[in-house]
Symmetry: C2
Subunit: 228 residues, 2 copies
């Protein structure tokens, strides 16, 4: 083994969860390669936020891949014909679910990690304060890991890929507390599904609601900039 | 159940294997949605070939998704700095391997199938006459299926996604025989890793070599158009 830091590809949207995930990967001694997607999301300002966050946490590289999920449609986050709804308690998977999004994101991370000769992928999925998305659960991540190690040259040759999900069992309040302890300034992050071009949040979508409750329960002042 | 045909998303490169796969899906009574990728491959003529094949087999829709595998690099098929090598017998995974390619392709197929309310995805992977790619093996496909059914809303709600690999245990000769029996004219397909803009094959890469041997062993005249 060399003294070089182990490498990690970190999926980074510039939101609260992925920013905290990057801070955690950094604090664990990884050399971080941040990966974001321009996937036709309505909320374009998250890419600016992500670039800023990658710089703050000194990522070796920040790559934004342009992919065309909006060609597929089927979600309020990518389809111009479907509005982002206000927050509502429900057991159903909401219309903000983007079909197979994490699978597509992790597949690109897998490809990039193989080219980088990197065996760690960090993703900020969270199974508690989430919207019921199937691709945020541990059993999904475990299945992806099994598949990933059969899919790739490095997996087959014995260099096991690890999908790291440091937030998966944390509440939003615990995520915020951990991030603050690691020096994250959440004023630099954007969580809202329909933030405006200045990165100001709507305050009424699911993502805003979970974030607000998180700051309240963490007893930390909410630094989010809301639309007037 | 309605009388409507079941739907299938069919991954289609316009090569011998994927064209045969489309013919098989069609012959099994599926309504076919063909999916191709403009992924920065050197061999652009395959997209023209794929569009033609989709039309011949009467696909309900043929979608070409533009994705940026060349941004990731690491393969002779997508990286301008790496030449496509001539055919060579070897136990090693060759430089034509594209990191995580089938995983990315299947992930998009999964997303599209969910939007289409479709439970079948056809992919023409083949575990025999192939180049040792890890993502062409049955165990990889099985692992992808498990993951896919945990990843998606329709999987979680009990509408199981089936990844169909009708060619996986066939020799190239058997694939050709089956295709000819289903009316495939292989003159309309392009297999070569570095075909020219007219779709004429190089005759020396792995893909050309396996195809040539296939026609020879099938005792069927090779209709491939080679570069002068």
């Amino acid at each position: 083994m060399s003294d070089a830091k182990p490498k990690a590809v970190v999926l980074l949207s510039g939101g609260l969860d992925s920013t905290t995930t990057l801070a955690i990967a950094k604090s664990q001694g990884f050399e971080c390669f941040a990966l974001s997607f321009d996937y036709g999301q309505k909320q374009k300002s998250e890419l600016v936020t992500a670039a800023n966050v990658a710089k703050i946490f000194n990522a070796t590289e920040h790559r934004i891949m342009k992919i065309s999920l909006s060609d597929i449609g089927g979600s309020a986050l990518t389809d111009d014909n479907i509005d982002v709804p206000d927050f509502k308690e429900s057991d159903e998977i909401p219309i903000t679910y983007v079909p197979a999004r994490n699978t597509i994101f992790l597949s690109y991370a897998l490809a990039w990690s193989e080219v980088l000769d990197c065996q760690h992928i960090f993703i900020g999925v969270n199974a508690l304060d989430y919207s019921g998305y199937p691709d945020c659960r541990q059993e999904y991540i475990d299945a992806f890991s099994v598949m990933a190690n059969l899919a790739t040259k490095q997996g087959v040759e014995g260099q096991k890929i690890n999908i790291q999900t440091p937030l998966i069992n944390l509440s939003k309040a615990q995520i915020i507390q951990q991030g603050v302890a690691l020096g994250v300034d959440y004023a630099n992050t954007t969580t809202c599904y329909q933030a405006n071009e200045n990165g100001e949040a709507c305050g009424v979508c699911d993502a805003c609601e979970y974030r607000k409750i998180g700051f309240f329960e963490a007893k930390i002042k909410d630094p989010t900039r809301y639309q007037a």
